[in-house]
Symmetry: C2
Subunit: 219 residues, 2 copies
Amino acid sequence: VPQAEPREPQAGRRRPHAPRRPNRYHHGDLPQALLDAALRIVKTQGTEALTLRAVARLAGVSQAAPYRHFANKEAILAAVAEDGFRSLMAAMRESVQACGDIPLARLRAVGIGYVTFATSHPSHFRVMFGRGMADRSAFPTLRQVASDTLAMVVAAIVDCQRAGLVRPEEPAEDLALTAWSSVHGLSALLVEGVLDRPAAEVAEMVTRDLFLGLGVRQG
Amino acid sequence: VPQAEPREPQAGRRRPHAPRRPNRYHHGDLPQALLDAALRIVKTQGTEALTLRAVARLAGVSQAAPYRHFANKEAILAAVAEDGFRSLMAAMRESVQACGDIPLARLRAVGIGYVTFATSHPSHFRVMFGRGMADRSAFPTLRQVASDTLAMVVAAIVDCQRAGLVRPEEPAEDLALTAWSSVHGLSALLVEGVLDRPAAEVAEMVTRDLFLGLGVRQG
DNA sequence: TGTACATCAGTGAACGCGCGTTCACTGATGTAC
DNA sequence: TGTACATCAGTGAACGCGCGTTCACTGATGTAC
């Protein structure tokens, strides 16, 4: 049995009233340590390996310890998913900042950021959108970050509408759902290994065909 | 323990050299009976309940019996997925036939058929695209039906191109991938409960925004 | 036509596994006095 | 400043479960002679 060493809680992510120094018995910031462990497992071993026992093992605590901080397995899955949405938003933001000021290019960058995140973190992507949580509505903060993600797409579309590049009469929310569907679908197909073609190539193509052609006035 | 009764093999789906009459010991057409059982489980109890043991139980045979016909669990999962693609194609075909002769309308009907199938058979959809099979390339017939499905989209787009309704200079395969991505993404988001809006409404909307706007000439 | 036999689709029991979760407990902490 | 004590985050063992898969076997089939 490999020995898992308890890890220093990360500064800056410490919970409000957590004690300063870790010790042998009381962990210091076990919730964060458990989340870190879960993220590490998802990244290195995939979705199937993400069990509560494995998380506890990697965090260096007994298998019962997580129950002090998470009601059940679903709850830690939701926490992982939530973290995933934050990473996804960061990836999209980064992708946008790396491109210029043209609204349409920025919208497209959002989409490419989305696909890039999905293909770079396939297991995390699966947890975010998989059936792990029977009922997503039981996790309001998860719903919140998911809708924040969609809001980024909406904002990019509003910018395009203001610049007269996209049909203004269509609600930005509707167009955003359309855009989200296409990048999400491409991501899912790539992540599940349904497509043979290289991710970067098809991401360029789909965003070109769709985002650039999105709602362009007919006739 | 509820008693599962062995079932008459369906006429017309019987394998070439299967014996005519079922009997107590030799089943008659166990492979088909197992597939039927698996489909029933997926439909009524969902993806999680689809275990080899449950399949054997419902087919009325011992838990070891399936191994005469399927190498392992992955193999029966692949068979279920393959059946799903055939049903999906049937749904798309039906949706197309119910609409007129206008190529763009037909293309859109393909998309709506896709989303309708997904939301009507969410568990089946999950098996088709889920991570159940570690390596899809190990199941060539599954790959085949999946690419047949895509071929239906390609064909619909070629018709649109011939009618001058969609950019002819873009390869139909590329446009088809774009279209597939959008309906697949919408389906996935609906199936996983990420969206609140009614499926039919958003299916109409996304296919309108995308398919009708797909590659319309700029300028 | 009758029979020995090879074939192989089934059986039933078992292996080994790891999971989520619960429970009575113990040890460290910080606070009230 | 010192101490009793309530609090609660941890422990370690156990429960009960169902899974995928294997194995030696048995019973029905159809064919060769």
